[in-house]
Symmetry: D2
Subunit: 357 residues, 4 copies
């Protein structure tokens, strides 16, 4: 009898359920007897021993369902190592609950911070297998994360719709796409939807270059311009600030986000009206796209296989079109961002897309 714990941690995204279904189908089909414990609301559930015993019927029909049947919550890595308000040592609590339930393995579906915690628990002696969840595609050690391609689809659809209205009204439109540290989502949604200007955190922008690009389009007879702007886009000047200085600047910024700041600057410099659309959380919601469903299922199956072989301490990953395993300690704490010299950036520029640099 194997006793397996499952938890989903951090911001939810598409295909979390598909991935869990993959793990569980693989375990059930192995013929071994399995008992499944679903911890509720991420690591919180493991800390405070909130869980549900799961059965096959919990996983029926969830391949296409968005969100997570276990609930999730954010718990920054830092706070995991600090005692809670009642003085409870969270790491110890998790270890105790793991052992109390006599678990053989904990399966963690999470992003960057969650992988760090998974690595910590692994180092503390728990058996952990993790899966790479994030719409940001910024996890080190894997070519792809699940949720990403679905989010690209949604952000693309938003920009497509803005396209027709921008065209009809001859307007400048900014669509703010999720991504504080990595520009993968903005880059791909921008390219997919034919955005004219793409601003990502990895390539600081010069507002004058942006205005030039808008005016160059105007001269060619294209009276509208679409900008896909990552939440974490940053100007060349701001990129030179120290972390502390930048934080201060953000705290005093009159605009709710960088998109509004860019909009105001374009309006001032070109005299043109600029509109901002912020699709926000919808980018992580709803049915996973077919790519993510296949991908998450494959990752889940591989996680199941590792468990059946008693191979722990790994994140299941995707490398060169194969599902592989990567040691958790290699993944934890690293970020995969867009290399400004990557060939996809060069190709985008060949297509006439401006990065404002």
């Amino acid at each position: 009898m194997r006793r397996i714990g499952l938890l989903t941690s951090g911001g939810d995204c598409q295909a979390l359920n598909a991935a869990m279904r993959g793990v569980v189908k693989c375990l059930y089909n192995s013929g071994e007897e399995v008992e499944l414990y679903g911890f509720l609301e991420g690591y919180k559930g493991l800390i405070y021993s909130h869980f549900r015993l799961l059965t096959a019927s919990d996983f029926s029909g969830i391949l296409t369902r968005g969100g997570t049947i276990l609930g999730s919550s954010r718990m920054p890595f830092k706070t995991i190592r600090e005692p809670d308000e009642k003085g409870l040592d969270k790491v110890e609590a998790m270890k105790q609950n793991y052992h109390k339930l006599q678990l053989d393995c904990l399966v963690v579906l999470g992003g960057n911070g969650s992988q760090k915690t998974a690595n910590l628990l692994n180092q503390e002696g728990l058996h952990v297998v993790s899966l790479p969840k994030t719409i940001d595609n910024d996890l080190w050690g894997t070519d792809m994360t699940f949720g990403f391609q679905s989010a690209v689809g949604i952000a693309t659809d938003v920009i497509d719709r803005i396209h027709t209205t921008a065209d009809s009204h001859g307007r400048v439109f900014i669509v703010e796409v999720m991504g504080h540290k990595a520009g993968w989502l903005t880059l791909n949604a921008g390219m997919a939807s034919g955005a004219d200007i793409i601003l990502i955190p990895e390539i600081p922008y010069d507002i004058d270059k942006i205005c030039e690009a808008i005016e160059a389009r105007d001269k060619k007879g294209s009276h509208f311009t679409i900008l896909a702007v990552a939440e974490g886009a940053i100007s060349k000047q701001d990129a030179k600030l120290s972390k502390k200085e930048f934080k201060e600047k953000l705290a005093n910024r009159r605009y709710p986000s960088v998109s509004y700041e860019v909009a105001a600057q374009i309006e001032k410099k070109t005299g043109r009206e600029v509109r901002v659309t912020v699709p926000g959380h919808m980018q992580r919601g709803g049915t996973p796209d077919p790519y993510d469903r296949v991908f998450a299922s494959r990752l889940g199956a591989e996680a199941g296989r590792l468990i059946l072989k008693d191979q722990y301490g790994f994140m299941v990953a995707y490398k060169n079109r194969e599902i592989v395993k990567v040691p958790l300690e290699e993944v934890a704490g690293k970020l995969k961002t867009v290399d400004p010299e990557a060939s996809i950036i060069k190709e985008a520029k060949m297509l006439g897309i401006s990065f404002g640099d």
Copy 2:
């Protein structure tokens, strides 16, 4: 030979092209010789004589295309009657351009303000036929406007996506849906997506009732709540203000829109975290849905038929499932809003939806 002018006015929406294609297909198929003048950017094109001669190929493949091939612009009714910055009398200019091109009829696709201007031009002796365009469905004289059902589809999709993430995180989420004066769009998208609370301009809300509804859900074990809030939602207190007082209040409001105000109040009163999503202009963009394509095509065909019969001064409309004509003078200046006593509101309440009243 018939010489027909076409223009699309006001905020663009889905199925503008489908409707124009309908008019033009009907005229071409009549066997009569037709010459088509497309005025650019709405009434502006008629005022300043910016137009394109259109041919059959301009209408090929546009049934499914969002936006308007003629471009559009907003020109409030008030400003139409005022001279422009160079002292030009706009109404006179439109009449002159109409006559200079020897037009037999002007086809106007527009919303509320645009219908008023269409009526004015009709009263000034021009031959006008108009079509009811708006995602707000607030045009008097017709049961339905094109653009509406497509916008319902988009807003519903947004709320659907927010649903899975709200559920996963046990959060209160507000989705701000377009509609300053009429709640049709919010009401229908809210019902379609299973929103728990719907706030529309026609039913002023009481913030305490909203908080009660959230807490009642919590008690039943539903730890998340979705609010669909119209841009023009208004509290009971604000609804008592004079127009002037309310304008002043809006001018001083610390929040970018009513949704953020409601969010702040819920947070304060319930201690729960509330997130706001504002899909904005995407609601009027992209491919029209099948309903709007059929509907706009039928309206267009009927407009064509009226022209062929020299029947002018009408808006083509939809009444009791038939395409009919309504005198422009009956339409102009009136708004069709949601009756708080309408049976759809009662049905929504029977389904457990709160309107905060």
Copy 3:
């Protein structure tokens, strides 16, 4: 305490779950105590006493789910009145099971045949309220049925996709749309997708007229043609046959369906290659569209209201944009088909669509 039975009968369609959710939400929100019995696989479940006690959680999250949580089966009205293979009187069995469970009302969601059975049970003294379910929109007594608009969306999407490939290859394409007796679905999907020729059961076609329309398009430079053909489309010659003669003809037809027959005739007469696509059952599957979700929810709420007022013997219906009730005896056995003289047909013809007549 009210004890309510629910069943879904006939071919499934979109929004069956949404409609049931509407009934149940209305009953629960009334404050009255309610016990819900879900009969499995349509009338079969009532005959053989296969049911599940349903609770609120069964209806959570099903607004957007396709199919029916109760299962369904076809049971032609004729067979309902005949004893089963073991000699069981089915009508008697249904009455006994209804009384054994001390039901106060039976809610039936079904199409044409199912409404006849509902009427029969009502005449036999059971309390029945029914809801108009069918993608065919052919139920007498209601302007609209749920499932219809969703099916229009799917069939439109199919034809849209065929459009690009037909255009690229300059081909004649036939898309066979569901509908044996009524052409509503084909008519609306055909108009929504810009089909050039639409064949429906209500307007018998002349193959020569079809070929003329194809060749007329060719002459105008449109080298492809799209036909939307209802399953029940019929030629003028066949329409003159007696029922018996036609049945015989069908039995001996070398083609799997009328679409293939039309295709072969076009190929023979014009020498052009014709392709046939038959999307089939997918037209009744998947998530209901926003229109159907609102519509089915409203119908469900009204059914709940009737039950709470002890008003039985009705189908809930839609008339002139209001939800109303229609006596079951008026509905049963009648079909609502497309009137060849209806204004929508005239409008379609004005748009240049040929019906082959």
Copy 4:
């Protein structure tokens, strides 16, 4: 001045226009003067000198448009080498037309056969750059072809819709997915949609194993089963036949396709009703998905770059997540099929999917 010819050959698919837009945007943005000749209907246009001079406006707005603005036609490699009915040597004709227009390069977008012809023309001394187009993903030398991921999306959507109706009626359903020689599309759509049984050409099936899988599901309480069956699926017995014997068998098969044969056998062996759905050509039509739009744009940009560097004789391809070039002679005449021992097959089996082997 560079003079570039473009043609799209073989069955059309999604993102053909996106790929051409990529080539052309890259060329225009290079600053070099470019003249573009679009050959109509594939190689036919080059043979018979049917072409259009293309300008920037031809490529505006086509990123999202399905089909090909140049038209396409199938011309099997064999027939390219044979004279036409008037005795014209097609290869010579193509060479002459290429030289008459003083082309610097010919860009070919095509699948397997078209790549063979591209290689032939390259060997005959023309400058050729090609792009990998096919929904089948079966081109040797590239990890991915454009059109594939969009087709997966459509086939998945079909199976999703069939899923709800299969579940509601407890039926066995077969969805026939495109793919005569390669199972990539069926495999991915089947996994994405949770199909229970997947039959592909690369893994011959045993009908008894299929029936066992259906009955095993039944025993577990899953009363419906979904089969995703490739057009080219083949039984173990048939796989043993010689090419000639198999052709003969096909010629005499009473069923329109393998799906119907499998359906009949399941019905006979299990006594269960089986339905078949054949979505057909819709799988290659309509708007490309975001993945294909980015991918085709990148491939196009790289093709443009090769032309600007005078590097000819290559197919642009995708290897290990980078856009690369592959010599045409290496690509021509080879097929990339699914390896029955590939890890994706093992993962699918771990998920409980049966391949009938």
